[in-house]
């Protein structure tokens, strides 16, 4: 039988260490909505999403109440819209109409984000893919809760540099289109290499074509719990350190597994995966950077940070894998800057640079995330940064992503405030040297060899 110590430990994690289930994400296939008439397509999409998700928020809240565990977000991911809208959309404006439908139905069912305004163009772009990508600035500036992601490369296909170059401009245009709100549109736009089909986290969630009609994916979190556990083993060796992280990750993930199973049973939707991620929030004590500090580096970014992050990421997976029957999504420590107070402090202290963040993304999920850069950063420079990050994903057979925010009208020394879970960030300097000739070449970077791994 459960004893008092165990009950108190769990409740302490929830009340004092920010343990929560970060998101229940309902993946919905929209393939059966496809129609060549735009008005009909919009109706089909609205009805399918509404019927599938109308009880999602209520069910999430009820589970939260019964188990006493906060479930922070309830979200929806849908089939990449470039596939769904291809037959009906002839212009950018047509695609943006679908974004508005998604926005409308998401607000109606009460979720806080809907992901899947996406295109998968790792090898080439169809005309629908291109139209969707070109419609992103309009779509993200005329909606509130729609998130967009574009997969521009993979280990199997190489990197679509035409798409990378295009995305450099699209990120900038999205920043311009939402400049009244500190270029917030860019916080809802992710560029991926090796994007997973079952990611529950925004802004990169979409419902892949390999998935069932509907699926429940759950993202757990708990940087604060890991940090507190590590406080108790200060000065101990790496074996003790790693064991502690592993055991903590196990406990955190088991909560996610329970919530996922309950949500699946109550909604009558199959359980997909648990995403084992340490996802920070701007709340004090809910920081991945603070874990790195606890492991022994003065600030995130100091020498040793990449090694510390590598071991953290690996131990979280080792603990989490046994705790859940199906693991997927991104599964790793997130290192967004604006959403993590410890990261913000490290940037402000001059310890953390864009280049060090890039190195850190080699050993964890997901990539250059929520980084504010000067608004006058060139399109080609953004494309170059995207290309670098995609190359890391391609060669290392892992998911990498870029979510940069060129804040129009602001520069190094300024701070930008996004609010809520998105936090705030100091504008970080970007390398000023040009990569124009490189990114303007056009075409594809070929897929790497999969042997001779030295």
């Amino acid at each position: 039988m459960i004893n008092t110590k165990e009950v108190l430990e769990t409740n302490e994690m929830i009340e004092k260490e920010n343990l929560d289930v970060r998101t229940i994400t309902l993946g919905i296939s929209l393939l059966d909505c496809i129609c060549s008439d735009l008005e009909q397509l919009k109706k089909n999409i609205y009805n399918k999403i509404y019927d599938s998700a109308k009880d999602l928020v209520k069910t999430g809240d009820q589970i939260s109440r019964e188990f006493g565990i906060p479930i922070v977000n309830k979200r929806i991911s849908v089939t990449p819209i470039a596939l769904v809208g291809g037959a009906a959309c002839k212009t950018k404006e047509d695609f943006a109409e679908i974004a508005k439908t998604l926005d409308e139905v998401a607000k109606k069912v009460g979720v806080n984000f809907i992901g899947g305004y996406s295109a998968l163009v790792s090898k080439g772009m169809t005309s629908a893919d291109r139209l969707l990508i070109e419609s992103i600035p309009l779509a993200l500036s005329s909606t509130d809760v729609v998130c967009s992601s574009i997969n521009v490369g993979s280990t199997k296909t190489g990197i679509n540099m035409d798409a990378v170059r295009l995305m450099g401009s699209i990120v900038k245009e999205t920043a311009m289109a939402t400049k009244e709100s500190d270029s917030l549109g860019c916080a809802k736009l992710v560029i991926f290499c090796n994007a997973p089909d079952d990611n529950p986290f925004m802004a990169g969630a979409f419902h892949g074509v390999t998935e069932a009609d509907k699926i429940i994916n759950v993202g757990v979190s708990g940087p604060g719990v890991v940090k507190t556990a590590l406080e108790k083993v200060r000065g101990e060796n790496f074996e003790v350190l790693c064991e502690t992280i592993k055991k903590t990750a196990f406990k955190v993930t088991r909560v996610g597994q329970l919530v996922a199973k309950e949500a699946s049973a109550r909604l009558g939707v199959p359980f997909g995966i648990i995403d084992l991620s340490l996802a920070p929030t701007p709340a004090i004590g809910d920081s991945v950077a603070d874990i790195l500090h606890e492991i022994g580096v003065e600030h995130a970014g100091a020498p040793g940070t990449t090694a510390a992050l590598a071991l953290l990421n690996d131990q979280v997976k080792k603990g989490g894998v046994m705790a859940s029957s199906y693991v997927g999504g991104l599964s790793g420590a997130f290192i967004p800057v604006s959403e993590d107070q410890g990261m913000i402090n490290a940037v402000e202290a001059g310890c953390l640079t864009l280049e060090k963040l890039e190195a850190m993304t080699c050993v964890c999920s997901v990539g250059l995330d929520m980084i504010a850069v000067p608004g006058d950063t060139k399109d080609t420079t953004i494309a170059g940064i995207i290309a670098d990050e995609m190359a890391i994903g391609m060669i290392n057979q892992k998911t990498t992503a870029v979510r940069l925010i060129p804040v129009i009208g602001k520069t190094v020394g300024d701070t930008v405030e996004f609010g809520g879970l998105l936090g705030y960030a100091p504008i970080m300097p970007v390398n000023k040297f040009s990569c124009d000739e490189f990114v303007n070449r056009g075409g594809r970077i070929p897929a790497p060899v999969h042997s001779f791994k030295n």
């Binding site: 039988m1 459960i2 004893n3 008092t4 165990e6 009950v7 108190l8 430990e9 769990t10 409740n11 009820q62 109440r65 019964e66 188990f67 006493g68 565990i69 406990k251 088991r254 909560v255 597994q257 329970l258």
Partner: protein, 90 residues
């Protein structure tokens, strides 16, 4: 059997257990186990109860206990057992 864990935390005062138990008895909720300690003047109680016999639903029991806790100056939480089981048992 619908096992639920009730935790009561707060400043120690006369009659905490009595009031909680009276409510549970009136609601036909059977107590399976109680443990209680005082740490630094703070009252800490954990109860394992079976809610199979009550006609009230989980939400109203949780709300009532929360209100009762508020009235006597302690925090009462009601959680289904599975969350502790899944975290602490393989």
């Amino acid at each position: 059997m619908k096992k639920t864990i009730i935790t009561v935390v707060g400043k120690d005062t006369v009659g905490i257990i009595a009031k909680v138990c009276t409510y549970l008895a009136d609601s036909s909720i059977n107590i399976l186990d109680i443990s209680q300690t005082i740490v630094g003047g703070y009252f800490n109680m954990m109860m394992i109860v079976d809610m199979a016999g009550t006609s009230k639903d989980f939400n109203s029991v949780a709300d009532d206990l929360e209100q009762l806790g508020h009235d006597i100056g302690v925090v009462i939480k009601c959680q289904k057992e599975e969350i502790f089981d899944s975290m602490h048992r393989i």
